[in-house]
């Protein structure tokens, strides 16, 4: 009687097959993440070739990456500004569009919603080619305007999706309550809806910024070859030779990505406003 059972034992006995799937999760994770991670130690090498592990350790590659003459800094700055403007444009289009979609019941809303999101599924190469041809007729290839509009086309659907998911968790009656209390539709949108979904919208904006910041193909078509974005410059330089400085740039990009997605993950959970 009254034998003591340790909870560790309980977990291992009752939960064994579940632990198996946790093990699978870890293995899959390693499979997915290892390649991206070996770049990081490589970036702290000094040799002129990319090898793992590096034979000598140092910060030479970072010094080279930060050398203004190499053009990496200006490309990075260009990508940053482009990302900001494109995200701003996507916000102004995507949030009202998502609100319109989620708050009306009219014939074809389903279809519109499906079509609005279809660019997410569309092949990048086709979108890139199409944008190139389209912008050629508008004579905006090679301009910042072209890049901003191209990126906005790519990232707006993602903002629509994240905004829609935020709106789905927003009780429709909160808007009704505001209207009964005397608010106009504009007041409802700006004082009730927007503040309530700011978490998902912020998270979606960060994600959209990352997408823009990392985008290669559309930018490659549209950007002027002497004014590349950061990923385009990386891509161009890889086409000729895999320069070790790329490991440093890649590590920097991984770092930015981790930071932004961490921030985004904290902004995501709903009902955390102000906590």
């Amino acid at each position: 009687m009254n034998t003591l059972h340790q909870s560790a034992k309980a977990t291992s006995r009752l939960g064994r097959p579940i632990s198996a799937s946790v093990l699978i999760a870890w293995l899959v994770y390693l499979f997915l993440i290892v390649p991206s991670l070996i770049v990081v130690p490589m970036s702290f090498g000094t040799s002129n070739e990319l090898v793992f592990p590096p034979q000598q350790w140092g910060l030479d590659l970072y010094a080279k990456a930060l050398d203004p003459a190499q053009g990496w800094l200006s490309a990075g700055g260009r990508s940053f500004v482009l990302g900001l403007i494109a995200t701003g444009l996507a916000l102004m289009m995507g949030v009202p569009a998502a609100y319109g979609l989620s708050r009306t019941n009219f014939f074809g809303q389903k279809a519109l919603s499906f079509m609005l999101l279809s660019p997410i599924f569309a092949p990048t190469i086709v979108v890139a080619l199409a944008l190139y041809l389209y912008f050629a007729t508008l004579h905006i290839n090679g301009s910042m305007l072209g890049l901003v509009m191209g990126h906005a086309v790519i990232i707006t659907p993602f903002l629509v999706v994240t905004t829609l998911s935020g709106l789905k968790h927003l009780d429709r009656n909160i808007e009704n309550a505001a209207m009964v209390m005397g608010a106009t539709q504009l007041q409802v949108f700006f004082r009730v809806v927007l503040p309530a979904i700011k978490g998902p919208v912020l998270s979606g904006s960060l994600f959209a910024f990352l997408l823009s910041f990392d985008e290669v193909i559309v930018s490659w078509f549209i950007a002027r070859s002497d004014q590349p974005t950061l990923p385009v410059k990386m891509y161009s330089s890889i086409q000729w030779e895999v320069s070790p400085v790329l490991a440093a740039i890649s590590t920097f990009l991984v770092f930015i990505t981790v930071i932004v997605s961490l921030v985004s993950a904290f902004a995501q959970p709903e009902n955390t406003d102000g906590f």
Partner: protein, 358 residues
């Protein structure tokens, strides 16, 4: 007393479907009126039309003397309390209650004072800086009530406000809302599907069924003189027995059951001899031990089929000689013997508690 809400022949059709037949209703100043009915009975449609979230197909709506039929929601001067509180998650309790005043561009000092008073009314001053999510369901609904009364609207609509709360809390808030109504003299139109809630809170109840008001009156009128079998069945418990009218005077209608036993009921218009009817008597109006039989009591024989203990009362189920099952609700006593299944029973009740329906 002046009328705060008047509906003249308000109806709603969606294409060929009629959600609400032409309906008249009046709510007087300071009155507590409840729309009671099962889901699909039209009570929500009616509420939405009054709030302005739907337009009526026909009819006119007068709120506080002004024709509000085509008025936008925000101009109707209503307050509203929703089942799921509908508080703004990004605002504190104070700012939620202040919202309608800010929309009205009330002066800051007046807002502070009015919000404070409203929160004091619902006993939540101490929580004014919390976010709604940090409150319990009952507290959130109290905030929502404070928000609906703080700007003193002509009429407060409450849409199943206690539906998301558990039983103990529901009973407590019933009491609080009723007390608030009596103390502040606000006019309330309340929607619920819970007959107990409707009866214990309302001045008048409008019982809805199939898109129309089936009966309207005080809770006592609905309970003791239901006009239809639906009303009898929806409010309180009820036993129905099939019978045929055999004799009729201006005072009494006598009906015969299939067993040959006869039951008397007060006469109502519209029944004739030979007509098939349904008799109704409530479980708690039936007594068990036969007293001296008088002309004022109906008596039936039956056989016990089971008993259920409910604490404050117990239910005995019996099969009548006429075949149907009947429930008898008796006050519970300590010393009450459990009735054995199969034991013969004599049931009796007051003739005045017998209702006849077509």
């Amino acid at each position: 007393m002046t009328s705060k809400l008047t509906l003249h022949g308000v109806s709603k059709r969606y294409g060929p479907v009629t959600a609400l037949h032409p309906t008249d209703l009046e709510v007087r100043e300071g009155e507590f009126v409840t729309l009671l009915g099962p889901s699909g009975s039209g009570k929500s449609t009616l509420l939405k039309i009054i709030a302005g979230m739907e337009l009526p197909t026909e009819g006119r709506i007068i709120i506080n003397g002004r024709d509000a039929t085509e008025m936008p929601v925000r101009e109707r001067d209503l307050g509203m309390v929703f089942q799921n509180y509908a508080l703004m998650p990004h605002l504190t309790v104070f700012d939620n209650v202040a919202f309608p005043l800010k929309i009205r561009k009330t002066a800051t000092e007046e807002i502070r004072r009015k919000v404070h008073d409203a929160l004091k009314t619902v006993q939540l001053e101490h929580l004014k800086d919390r976010k709604p999510q940090a409150l319990s369901g009952g507290q959130q609904q109290r905030v929502s009530i404070a928000r609906a009364i703080v700007y003193n609207p002509s009429l407060v609509l409450m849409d199943e406000p206690l539906g998301a709360l558990d039983k103990k809390l529901r009973e407590q808030l019933q009491f609080e809302i009723k007390e608030l109504h009596d103390r502040l003299g606000i006019t309330i139109l309340y929607v619920t599907h819970d007959q107990q809630e409707a009866m214990s809170m309302s001045d008048r109840v409008a019982l809805m069924n199939g898109g129309r008001i089936e009966q309207i009156g005080t809770p006592r009128q609905l309970y003791f003189t239901p006009e239809t079998a639906f009303a009898a069945d929806f409010l309180g418990s009820s036993n129905f027995i099939d019978a045929t009218v055999t004799a009729r005077t201006s005072e009494r209608t006598v009906c015969r059951l299939s067993s040959g036993e006869e039951i008397a009921a007060p006469s109502r218009e519209g029944f004739s001899e030979g007509q098939k009817v349904r008799l109704m008597v409530r479980p708690e109006h039936i007594s068990l031990l036969g007293q001296a039989v008088s002309a004022d009591r109906n008596v039936l024989k039956g056989v016990t089929t089971g008993t259920t203990f409910f604490g404050e009362s117990a239910e005995i189920r019996a099969r009548l000689a006429a075949g149907s099952e009947i429930a008898i609700r008796i006050p519970n006593d300590y010393s009450l013997p459990e009735a054995e299944p199969g034991a013969p029973l004599h049931l009796e009740w007051d003739v005045r508690q017998t209702h006849v329906f077509a």
